[in-house]
Every structure is written in structure tokens, then in C-alpha cells.
């Protein structure tokens, strides 16, 4: 009970609204370390968590033709200073189904914490899947976050995956998302991260546009300062006719921080097209001067530009 209350407090601090956990029309799952401490289901949604020594295995199914009306809320966290949490998700969104998920991951006191996520997600035909993951970390940087996902998208489907880590120290971060996109389906992946101190950020997002008229957008926004380092690998491979993709990476560095962007675009069909843009550098001088002309001090102007980029 104590863990439940503390998790809800941490969830609220992370920007969530604990009242949603009292609403029987809203599905949710709360996991602290390897304990399932709260769950609610709605019709058409299968959500089966199973506790394992290092975390939780989760089966998530949205049944054929069912569109889950309300956002499904997930909350994962480790509240003590040390611990490990492995979240293994097997998700299946069946034909004609649709769901939006919002996962809050809270590690406010981490000194030596590891959070791993392995997700295998299958999206059927004519389906919709949106996954938003928001992290809330403490200020020690003693955390390692390793999210991995493999997403297979059927025909005429739409998938959105947003990841953000903007509150607290990143620690060590190693994200690796891969997705296959079949005929007439779209993939839209965005990662936004703000690193400082000695944070280490590594992002790899890859999309394989295998279906005719498939679409892919991979977008990254990273800001690093202090001695933080980031590396972003954005990969789009188009092998089908009329496939279209775009890679868009912006990294802002301040102080002694370092950033690297590796856009990889690979097209093997003459009727496919993939474009990319990548920019790394200081905050744009003209943007800062424009805001300073409106009366902001330089530091505040830089903060506003960076916060806008990561919004």
C-alpha cells in the first residue's frame, strides 16, 4: 500500500494525474520494481502482467475491431536508490483495432538503477497504435535506461511512437527501436531528450519500409550541455515502390557537450524516396538575438529555444 501511494506521488510529480487510476473506464497498469501494484481493464483490452524476479512480463492484446476509447495508462518505476526493473512486453493489436498508450516511467531517487524494456509489438491490418513514453528521473544520474522495441506493422495501419526524457538526469541511455512497415501503412517515431552532467545518450531508430506506399518519419530532438554526449542513429530503408520516408534530426550542444548524428537512408527501389536532414550545433544565434530583442536575457533566451525544440 505504501509503494502504491509513493508511486502515485511520483507519477503526479512526473506530470500524471492520479485520479485516472480511480476511473473504471480507463485501463491502467502500475508496476513498482517487479510488483504489479495496480491494474484496471476495459472491454476488448487484454492486459496480463506476470511478475518475474527482475521485473514483469506483460501481454497486451487489443482484440479485433476494438478501438479503446480512452488512453491506456501505464506507470513503471523504481523508487529506492537501487534496483532493477525489466519490462518485457508482447503486444498484439489485431486487425481493425486501435489503442493509445501513455507510459510514465519514474525513477526519482535512482543512484544505481537499471530499467530495461523489451517490446515485441505486432500491429495487424487497418489498425492504429500510439505509444507515448515519458520519463521522470532524479538528479543523481545513477540510472541506466535501455528500451528496445521491435514493431511489425501490417497493411493500412498507423503507428506513432513518442519517447521523451526531459526531466532530471538521463544517466546512461541506450534506445533501440526497429520497425517494419507494410503496404500503405505509416510509422511516425519521435525521440526527445535533454542531457547534462555526464549523461550518455545513444539512440537508434530504424524503419524498414517494405510495403508499397508505406511511409516513415523518424524524428529526433536532443539537447546536451555540460559534459553530456549523444549519438543519434536514424535509419530508414525503403525497398518497396512508392515508399516515402524522412529522417529529421536536430541536436543542440552547449558547453563541453558532444553530439553525433548518423542518418542512414537506403533505397533499393527506383520508385521509392527517402530524404534526411540533420543539424548539430549551438543554439541558433538569430533565434537568441530575436528573443533578446524582446527583452529576454541571453540565458533565458537559450532556455526558451531549447525547451521549444524539445516540446
Amino acid at each position: 500500500m505504501q509503494d502504491y501511494k509513493l508511486m502515485l506521488d511520483a507519477y503526479e510529480t512526473a506530470g500524471g494525474s492520479p485520479s485516472i487510476f480511480k476511473d473504471s473506464n480507463i485501463a491502467h497498469l502500475i508496476v513498482h520494481k517487479n510488483k504489479v501494484i495496480g491494474t484496471n481493464l476495459v472491454k476488448g483490452l487484454v492486459l496480463e502482467p506476470k511478475e518475474i524476479p527482475s521485473g514483469v512480463d506483460i501481454i497486451l492484446i487489443v482484440e479485433k475491431g476494438i478501438k479503446i476509447e480512452n488512453l491506456v495508462h501505464l506507470c513503471f518505476g523504481v523508487l529506492p536508490e537501487e534496483g532493477i526493473q525489466e519490462i518485457n512486453i508482447k503486444a498484439r493489436i489485431e486487425d481493425g483495432a486501435g489503442v493509445k498508450l501513455l507510459a510514465h516511467c519514474v525513477f526519482p531517487n535512482a543512484v544505481k538503477v537499471v530499467h530495461k524494456m523489451q517490446a515485441d509489438i505486432e500491429i495487424g491490418d487497418d489498425a492504429y497504435y500510439e505509444y507515448n513514453e515519458v520519463h521522470f528521473h532524479g538528479e543523481t544520474g545513477g540510472i541506466e535506461v535501455i528500451p528496445k522495441a521491435r514493431i511489425k506493422i501490417g497493411k493500412n495501419s498507423h503507428v506513432v511512437a513518442n519517447f521523451s526524457l526531459l526531466h532530471g538526469r538521463v544517466g546512461v541511455f541506450d534506445l533501440n527501436y526497429e520497425s517494419e512497415v507494410m503496404d500503405n501503412s505509416t510509422l511516425d517515431m519521435t525521440a526527445k531528450i535533454y542531457g547534462y552532467g555526464n549523461d550518455r545518450i545513444k539512440i537508434r531508430e530504424a524503419g524498414y519500409l517494405k510495403g508499397r506506399t508505406s511511409r516513415g518519419l523518424i524524428k529526433s530532438r536532443v539537447a546536451v550541455k555540460g559534459n553530456a554526449q549523444s549519438e543519434v542513429i536514424s535509419e530508414l530503408i525503403a525497398t518497396a515502390p512508392d515508399a516515402r520516408g524522412h529522417v529529421d534530426c536536430v541536436e543542440i550542444i552547449q558547453g563541453s557537450a558532444q553530439a553525433k548524428a548518423v542518418p542512414i537512408v537506403n533505397v533499393t527501389n527506383e520508385f521509392a524516396k527517402v530524404t534526411h536532414e540533420a543539424a548539430i550545433g549551438r543554439v541558433d544565434k538569430k533565434q537568441v538575438e530575436t528573443l533578446m530583442a524582446r527583452g529576454l536575457e541571453e540565458e533565458k533566451a537559450i532556455d526558451l529555444v531549447v525547451s521549444g525544440l524539445l516540446r
Binding site: R221, V250, D284, K286, Q287, E289, T290, L291, A293, R294, G295, L296, L304, V305, S307, G308, L309, L310, R311
Partner: protein
């Protein structure tokens, strides 16, 4: 300080809404004033307040938002660098109107323009050539001078030659 500058090509901001951008320079974040400032530049608040002030705006829209931001800031001095360039002819009247509104609210405007019809709103006009002021006065006098003396001039005049040239022109 109460001094601001609107660039000829204003910066764009990913993630900031038009409302965010306009409110940056406002001492009190008054939503009614933000809407009023957009109306002055012929932009419908409901269509623009939540739009991003990024590259999705056209050049003309961005410039009008820049003027709206200056209006909402109520500065003592506003330097407007060609606020009329890239503006369609229908919106040009409103650019003139908002500059007059700035004057009315007590803002001194230093306006840089290539358009005669826009310069006519100024109380005092200076004609510049290669970094030098060659004529000062009312707009009509300066325009007349320009048409008679400058427009026919086919010779590139360099600053080192300017003293002789301007004396000759008198």
C-alpha cells in the same frame, strides 16, 4: 530598456506557438492584447494562436507575427527592418496601420523601407546611400529628391566620393 528590433527575415522557432512567441516581450501576459495584436496584422487569432512559429508559416505570415509581437510588447523604440517586404498588397495597408498604432501608443518607430508609400507615414525621412544620409526631411521632399537626383544616377557612388557628389547634387 524598451527597445526592440524586428528583423527583415525573422527567426523561426520550433515548438513555440505564435501565442508563446508574442507573449515573450510582454510585461503582463494579457491574452486580449495578444489577440488584438494579431487582428492588427490581419491574422485571425483562432487560426494562429496555437500554430507553431516555425517553418510551416509563410514568410509573409511570419513577418506579420513579428509586427504583432512588437505591438504587444509596447516598446519605447522599435526598429523595423523592411516590415513591408514580402507582404502582399492587401496586407500592406495593415502594416501601415499597425505602424501608426505603434506611434499612437507612444512607440518611436525607426522604419527601414524601400517603398515610397510606406515611408509617407513617417514624421521624418532620411534617404541613405552607401551608408550615408544624403537627404533628410518630409517623405514627399525626400521622394522628390530621390526621383530627381538618385533614380537617374547610373554611377555607383562610393562613400569616399560621396561628399563631392552630394555637394554637386545641391
Amino acid at each position: 530598456m524598451g527597445i526592440t528590433l524586428a528583423w527583415q527575415e525573422p527567426a523561426r522557432f520550433e515548438g513555440l506557438t505564435v501565442k508563446d512567441y508574442i507573449s515573450v516581450g510582454m510585461k503582463e501576459k494579457n491574452p486580449a492584447l495578444i489577440e488584438e495584436s494579431l487582428c492588427h496584422v490581419l491574422l485571425e487569432p483562432k487560426d494562429y494562436l496555437e500554430r507553431k512559429a516555425d517553418k510551416t508559416l509563410s514568410g509573409g505570415e511570419r513577418k506579420r507575427i513579428e509586427l504583432a509581437a512588437v505591438f504587444a510588447m509596447k516598446p519605447k523604440l522599435a526598429i523595423l527592418d523592411e516590415p513591408d517586404s514580402g507582404i502582399d498588397i492587401l496586407a500592406l495597408d495593415n502594416i501601415v496601420k499597425i505602424i501608426n498604432e505603434l506611434k499612437k501608443q507612444g512607440t518611436t518607430v525607426l522604419l527601414i523601407t524601400h517603398r515610397e508609400e510606406v515611408s509617407e507615414i513617417a514624421d521624418k525621412t532620411s534617404l541613405m546611400c552607401t551608408g550615408f544620409i544624403v537627404k533628410e526631411g518630409r517623405s514627399k521632399e525626400v521622394s522628390k529628391y530621390f526621383k530627381e537626383k538618385c533614380a537617374p544616377c547610373l554611377t555607383k557612388v562610393f562613400p569616399s566620393e560621396l561628399d563631392n557628389w552630394t555637394q554637386g547634387a545641391k
